[in-house]
Every structure is written in C-alpha cells, then in structure tokens.
C-alpha cells in the first residue's frame, strides 16, 4: 500500500521530461528521477554515504550528532530533527527528492505528500543494505563509478578486518550508559559486526532488542569473551572512551580474558549508533577494530 503510494506520488509529482531509474528502497523497488538538484536528507546514514559520493544536500536535519559530516552539511537548510521533519521547512525548500528512513521511517508517507520520497532505512542486514543504498545513490546521482569504487574499497577493508579478527576468539558487544551496561547479540543493532566479521558470539542467548539487554558485570565475567567490544553511549557528551573504561574497570571485568589480554575495543558511538550503515561510518568502525586487534 505504502509502496504503491510512494510510487504513484513519485510518478505524479515528477516533471515531464525526467529520466528515471528503479532503485531498491526499504519499502521495495521505487522508480526515481535521476539527477535531482535539490535533495532533503533525514537519515544520518544516508547523509554519510551521500557525502562520500560528493553529493551536497539542500536540506538536512539538525543536530546530526556525528562530527565527521560537518563539512558535508555546510550551507544546507535545516529541515527538522533526527526523528521529526519540519514539514513547513521541507515544503519551503521545495526539494526534488527526499531521502528519509531509519529514525524518520514513520514520517515517510507524510513527506511523500510534499515531494518524491524514498525510504532508505538500514535495518538488520546493515552491511548488505548499506551497500545497496550506496549503489542506489550512485545510480540516482549518476555517480556509479564512484559508488563502485567505494564499495570495492569497503569490501577490501571488510576482508582485511575479518582476517585480522579470525581465530582471535569469541566476542561480546556491550554498550555502556553511565554506570550501567547492556548486551547486544548477533540479531541486535550492532549484530552486523558478528555477521560481517564472522566473529563468534560469547553468549548466544542475547536477544534481538533495539536497546540491548540490561546485564550485570557478573554476566560479562561469566561470558568471559576473548574480545570485548564496547560502545560508549556517553561519548556524545565529550567523555569518550574514558567513561566506558571507568565503568568496566572493576574486579569482575578485570578477570575476563579480553581485559587480561587487552582486547577491549572502544568504538565511537556516534558513527556506529547514529549513522549505522553509512559507508564512511562502517569504514571508521572497521578501522577502529582492525587497528586494535592488529596493534594489541
């Protein structure tokens, strides 16, 4: 139903003499007019990949929380926040194409009433969908070669990182929020690290919950992972890995193999959490993991 709606609107609203291309979106294949001039972007992962392709949006959300995309959004109009579009601002901007998804998923039908909108949500298969989106943007903006080059570079990085972690043992992904910890499994929002890197899980039972499962430090001690991947949710307020380290540095976690061998990897939360699936964000994360595993 929504797909048909988006499709109809896409067809109805477009100018007459446009060239179109069919791209895969989260809601199925959609025909999109190529080379749109003014685009509004509501998803940080999309912004990330578009920036890598050298596409400058006319309208973006604010704040975008990640620091590495500052230049890419310079001069763009503010058209809402991460979850909520400012529909008046979008209408005033008069975009040729709206790219939404992820946290703005629910706003897609409403946005589609203003301008052609594609839902580029990345969920579950983060790497696969992330690469699909990259390819789609390449086709929409006529940057197929750039997109292909980025995809190849990413695949190489992924293979290298996979080789680096191979045989290093089982991993546990945790997120620290202040003094508390939650665990994530292969089905969770950071699960692509397990899948893409073929990294075995230290605990198989962690369920597929968006914000992880509340766990105690005894849980980490009991799981005894060889690699502990730590996402610090507090990094956003300028406390970096220090706060996460302070949270985990205790009698129980110190007894784990990961801590003893120094295989505790602190990942920047903003690229992973806010821009998850963006081609730059995934590369940053892989770099951080590879640097740590090969260095330590």
């Amino acid at each position: 139903m929504l797909r048909t709606l988006a499709l109809c609107l896409t067809l109805a609203c477009g100018p007459l003499a446009g060239q179109t291309v069919t791209v895969d979106t989260y809601r199925g294949p959609v025909e999109v007019e190529t080379m749109p001039e003014r685009i509004a972007v509501f998803d940080v992962a999309a912004l990330d990949t578009l920036a890598a392709l050298g596409v400058t949006p006319a309208g973006v959300i604010e704040p975008i929380y990640v620091t590495y995309l500052g230049d890419a959004t310079a001069g763009a109009e503010r058209v809402g926040t991460l979850f909520e579009p400012d529909f008046e601002a979008v209408a005033a901007l008069g975009p040729d194409l709206i790219i939404a998804g992820g946290r703005s998923y629910e706003a897609v039908p409403d946005l589609a009433r203003i301008a052609p909108t594609i839902d580029m949500t990345i969920w579950e298969d983060v790497v696969g969908q992330g690469l699909d989106r990259l390819e789609a943007y390449g086709e929409i903006f006529g940057k197929q070669d750039e997109a292909a080059a980025l995809a190849v570079a990413f695949q190489e990085k992924l293979a290298a990182t996979r080789a680096a972690v191979a045989g290093k043992g089982r991993a546990l992904i945790v997120m620290t929020v202040g003094p508390k910890v939650s665990g994530y499994g292969a089905g969770g929002r950071f699960g692509w690290l397990h899948d893409a890197l073929e990294l075995p899980e230290a605990v198989e039972a962690v369920e597929d919950a968006t914000h992880g499962e509340a766990i105690s430090f005894e849980f980490i001690r009991d799981a005894d992972p060889e690699i502990l991947i730590v996402v610090d949710r507090q990094a956003a307020i300028g406390q970096g890995g220090a706060a996460a380290k302070a949270t985990l540095d205790n009698a129980l976690v110190r007894e784990t193999r990961a801590w003893k061998t120094g295989r505790v990897i602190y990942l920047d939360s903003a690229p992973l959490y806010i821009a998850g699936g963006g081609i730059q964000s995934m590369s940053i994360i892989l770099d951080q993991i590879a640097a740590h595993v090969t260095g330590g």
Binding site: G178, K180, V181, V203, E213, A214, E218, D222, I237, G238
Partner: protein
C-alpha cells in the same frame, strides 16, 4: 494501635533469609559450598553479591523512611519524594552536572543532585501551599504533573544532546551496576536516615500542623527544613547511585501505618525494614525473571507492591477490631 515490636522481629528474620538468598542469586553459579570451598567464591561475594544486597537493603529502607517522613510532615498520605519532583529534581541535577562539567567526579554530581532535589521540593511546596486544604488528593495530582514537567525538561535537554539513553539510567532505577566501590555513597544515605530517626518525635509533632506544633514549643521551620534537607539528600544519593525507584516511599509507609499508626518513633524501624525487604524481594525477582538478563527493579516492585497492598486492604477486616 498494635505494637510493631513483634512484626519487626518477624520481619527481621524474613529480611535475613532474603539477604542470604540474594547473596546466592546471580549470573555466576555460586552455591554455599562453593562460596567457602572454592577460590574466588568469597571474592565474588565481597565484590558483587554483598555490595548489591547491601545497596538494595539501604535503598529500600531509606526510600521508605523518606516517604514516611514526607507523608507525616506534609500531612498527606499520597505523597512521596519520587512522585512530587524530588527524585526528578535529583535526576535533572545529575544531567545538568554531567553536561556542564563532563567527567565530573561523583561528589560534584551528588552535590548538584541534592541542590536541585531541594529546589524542586521547595518549589513544589510553594505551589501546593496555595491549594485548598479540603482537597488532599489535589496534592499528589499536582505532584504527578509537576514531576512529569521536570521529566519533560530532562527529556528536552537529553534529546537535544543525544543523551536519551543516558537519562534513562537515572529515571528507571535498577541495581545491575552495583559493585564494591560503586555503592558506598548509600551509606551516607543510611546515616542521614538514622539521623531522621533521632528527630522522629519532633517530626511527629510537626505533622500535627504548624499552629499546633508551634504552640507545643517546636521550632517548626527548623524541623521542616531539616527533614526536607534529609529527604533530599537521601533521594539524590539513591538517584545518583541506582536511579529513581518509584512507589517504595508511597506504598511502604501506607502499609505500615494502616496497622501501626503514625507514631514515627515506633514505626520508622518497621517502615525501614519493610521497605528493605520488599525492594530486596523485587530485586531478587528482577535478577531471576529473565536470567541472565536484568529487569528494572521498579517494574517488579510496582507489581509486587500493588499485590501486597491489595492483600492488606482486603484482608484487614478479618484481623482488626
């Protein structure tokens, strides 16, 4: 009114039994035999199980005491620190502190939390002073709205700076992060609660109302100020250490005073014990319901406390009178 002495002794035995159960409940398998026979057994108890059990006991006891004191001095059965903005004020203080001074030591956050908790409480008192005394239910209703407003303010700040999950740590309290070295602030709360017991008689007199208290020779303003300060300190220490746990301060004093009245000198120990026992039972359940993961203790307490309260309400006519 019945004497709470016997109930206190029975309660003491129950809480002791719960404490032992709590010591042997956790993700890592530990039996009493292992605790004393195997290396690391006692270390695990010392570093994780005992601190958690103590933290739960102190938190439960002190939140119940804070609620009882609040109810007596405000002369309203339906108030407690977590529903009239004291807890929310403390959480707001932590948020502001960690925002203004990133990486602030715990003491700084605690001082911030106490100050904002106090400010929030006094502002609430200033608001409810204008309410008609004939409508006691208006006070908790205004409290709920007021607490909701404070939380909305927190959410607004947190949303702007991508800290939504961070404030959740303080808003929904649980004990999964408690370890040796991470809960000791609660001992200060315990000391403050004990100090409240020392002025229990004065608090009970203050609960008779301002004019009565003054005519009995009580420095009403001083006692009220001290009591509110103590409640703010207790609440902010709890929020800083484990987060907000609602309803303990509301349910427990009501449970105790239904049977034993409001003579704080006699009932406060039982209030503390009941609070400690109920929260400890909730925390054991919180550890077991979705083992090896954890469930917020407030959720369990809400269910457990409500059932306990209903049983008490309906069972009473058969025992009393």
């Amino acid at each position: 009114m019945a004497s709470p002495g016997r109930a206190f002794r029975i309660g003491l035995v129950l809480v002791a039994a719960l404490s032992v159960w709590s010591i042997f409940t956790g993700v890592i398998d530990l039996t009493p035999a292992q605790a004393f026979g195997e290396p690391g057994g006692l270390a695990l108890i010392a570093s994780s199980r005992a601190p958690r059990t103590l933290a739960v006991l102190i938190t439960g006891a002190m939140l119940a005491v804070a609620g009882a004191v609040m109810q007596v001095i405000l002369r309203n059965r339906f108030v407690e620190p977590m529903t009239i903005g004291t807890g929310q004020g403390a959480a707001l203080g932590i948020l502001i502190a960690s925002f203004l001074i990133p990486g602030a030591p715990l003491v700084v956050r605690m001082v911030f939390a106490t100050l904002t908790a106090l400010a929030a409480t006094f502002l609430f008192l200033a608001i409810v002073r204008r309410l008609p005394p004939t409508q006691p239910l208006l006070v908790p209703l205004i409290g709920l709205v007021y607490g909701g407003l404070l939380e909305a303010g927190m959410t607004f700040i947190a949303y702007q700076y991508d800290m939504m999950q961070y404030i959740q740590t303080w808003v929904s309290g649980e004990f999964s992060g408690v370890l040796l070295g991470r809960y000791e602030l609660l001992w200060i709360a315990a000391a403050v609660g004990a100090a409240l017991y020392l002025i229990a008689d004065q608090l009970a007199i203050a609960g008779l109302g301002r004019s009565m208290a003054v005519s009995l020779g009580l420095d009403y303003g001083q006692v009220m100020g001290l009591a509110l300060l103590a409640v703010a300190v207790v609440v902010s220490l709890t929020v800083v250490t484990v987060g907000m746990i609602p309803f303990v301060g509301l349910l427990v004093p009501n449970i105790v005073s239904r049977r034993y009245g409001d003579n704080l000198r006699r009932t406060l120990p039982l209030v503390a014990l009941t609070g400690a026992g109920l929260v400890l039972a909730s925390d054991i359940a919180a550890r077991l319901v979705r083992h090896p993961f954890e469930v917020p203790v407030g959720t369990i307490f809400g269910v457990l406390g409500a059932v306990f309260f209903l049983v008490l309400l309906y069972a009473r006519p058969r025992h009393a009178r």
